[in-house]
């Protein structure tokens, strides 16, 4: 499905997040369109997690607005949350519950209760039908991500938020997850994902925003960003093999200093 430029599912406008005197996010703004995979990239501590937490309703912010499918996340948090599916960076479910019980829990709290046959079908779809009664902690990293992703889309949300979804996965599992993310897009959902992998951003994202020191410093398609910045001296200086890549642009724009 092609993104419709007139139909945005997520609109972040003038977002500001502070922790005491520390300004984590300042005047951040971007839209995510229906049927679009949008990547949020940035070095550690750049403000990605704070931005994502504000969208998810996990933290209160004093500046700016966030609208999810027409619902203000601060004014109508439950309605906004009902319109989005979330996969957190460190996915944790009750370790005592098995996969079926976890799916029953989340289908119930999203208001789409599933019977045993429906759950069996969902597990078959993610090739985990033989692991139905395993505890979540007993699954491999790739299997856990598949369960998390199916939970994030269990209620057919308009917006799916994925926080570093492929971290720690082997190449096969990563490719499989990319295909699943693209399948989510094909169904018309909007996807916002954060990642440290430039390869991932280039492979799956329609547009990306680079965020640094709490501000968005660039937004465009991966190719357009490369084209726009290929002649920047900072980008050329960090280029390793002559050919300018998205990673060169990213490091050129955010600097070479290692962030903690």
């Amino acid at each position: 499905m092609t993104a419709d430029p007139d139909k945005y599912i997520l609109k972040v406008d003038g977002l500001g997040v502070t922790y005491g005197d520390f300004v984590a996010v300042k005047d951040v703004g971007f839209n995510v369109l229906q049927g679009e995979i949008f990547g949020l990239l940035g070095p550690n501590g750049a403000g990605k997690t704070s931005t994502l937490s504000a969208i998810e309703g996990l933290l209160k912010f004093k500046q700016g607005t966030i609208i999810v499918d027409g619902q203000d996340v601060q004014q109508k948090p439950l309605y906004a949350k009902a319109s989005m599916g979330v996969q957190l960076q460190s996915t944790s479910f009750q370790p005592e519950l098995n996969v079926v019980q976890i799916l029953q829990l989340f289908s119930g709290i999203y208001g789409v209760p599933k019977n045993k046959d429906e759950i069996k079908e969902m597990l078959k779809d993610i090739k985990l039908e033989d692991h139905a009664h395993k505890k979540f902690g007993q699954l491999s990293g790739g299997q856990q991500q598949r369960v998390s992703l199916v939970i994030a889309t269990i209620h057919n949300p308009k917006l799916v938020l994925l926080d570093e979804p492929t971290t720690g996965l082997d190449p096969q599992s990563r490719r499989q997850l990319w295909e699943r993310i693209e399948a989510i897009k094909a169904k018309g959902h909007a996807v916002l994902l954060t990642t440290h992998s430039m390869e991932e951003a280039e492979a799956v994202c329609d547009r990306i925003a680079i965020i640094d020191h709490g501000r968005v410093i660039a937004i465009d398609t991966p190719q357009a960003l490369v084209d726009k910045h290929r002649d920047d001296p900072e980008v050329i200086a960090v280029s390793r093999r002559g050919k300018i890549t998205l990673e060169d642009v990213f490091i050129g724009l955010t600097g070479t200093a290692v962030r903690d």
């Binding site: 309605y79 009902a82 460190s90 996915t91 944790s92 029953q104 989340f106 709290i109 208001g111 209760p113």
Partner: protein
């Protein structure tokens, strides 16, 4: 534009309770152990029943069980789930925060009812302790009030302390202190001032309230004051605990 529908709070609460029950069932060994402590005390105090009376033994056993439920059961499960990010996962869903906590508290209330019933059964079977019908009914109600004192104390601990390891240590220490100082202090072994302090402490107040509820005819003005003291504990502990509580341990 499609209208966004949020799930009914009652359905969400029911789903959370079912999951929390499944979690409790998976942890049945630790549940049994926490229920065993008051029952062992009740059985081992058989010779004291004749001297101190049935209500004394039953109220001590229930008080110790309530402490285990409030301090160990509730507090440890909340601190662990906060540490593991389980609350954050629930909070990004359209779930009112009150429903997440109410479900936890509901499970503990069920535990309180089971504990009280077990103490009554063992007390009757082993020590032949019987109460009037009003006594049984009133004790169930007062056990819930007493349980609320320890649940709110648990809430205070998870509100003031963030790390699960420190909470674990503090709750165990508090539990041990209440049992040792409470039991010996109320008998006067630790001196009159400690005895007076224990009388108005969460341990002494809950125990006195429970003992009086088992013999409604002996309910005095002093007992009514104790009920108010317990309500005061609940308001202060829960008030501070809820205000200071953070959903994320990071």
């Amino acid at each position: 534009m499609e209208t966004t529908v949020i799930p009914k709070s009652s359905a969400v609460f029911k789903t959370l309770v079912r999951a929390d029950m499944a979690t409790l069932f998976s942890n049945r060994r630790s549940v049994v152990i926490s229920l065993l402590v008051p029952l062992i005390i009740l059985v081992s105090w058989k010779p004291l029943v004749k001297v101190m009376g049935g209500p004394f033994a039953l109220s001590t056993a229930i008080t110790i069980g309530l402490m285990a439920i409030g301090l160990m059961g509730y507090t440890l499960s909340v601190s662990r789930d906060r540490d593991k990010g389980i609350f954050q996962r629930l909070r990004v869903a359209p779930v009112p925060t009150w429903a997440i906590m109410s479900s936890r508290i509901f499970i503990q209330l069920v535990m309180i009812m089971v504990l009280t019933l077990l103490v009554f059964i063992v007390g009757y079977q082993y020590d032949k302790i019987t109460l009037s019908t009003e006594g049984y009914l009133l004790t169930f109600g007062v056990a819930i009030l007493g349980g609320a004192v320890y649940l709110s104390l648990g809430q205070l601990i998870v509100g003031l302390i963030k790390t699960a390891e420190t909470i674990n240590a503090v709750t165990r220490l508090t539990y041990f202190l209440f049992i040792m100082v409470g039991m010996f202090g109320e008998m006067g072994t630790l001196g009159p001032q400690v005895k007076e302090g224990v009388h108005w402490s969460p341990y002494g107040s809950v125990k006195l309230m429970l003992a009086a509820s088992m013999e409604p005819a002996k309910w005095t003005h002093d007992t009514t004051i104790t009920v108010w003291v317990c309500l005061g504990y609940i308001i202060v502990f829960a008030g501070i605990g809820i205000k200071k509580f953070k959903w994320n341990s990071k």
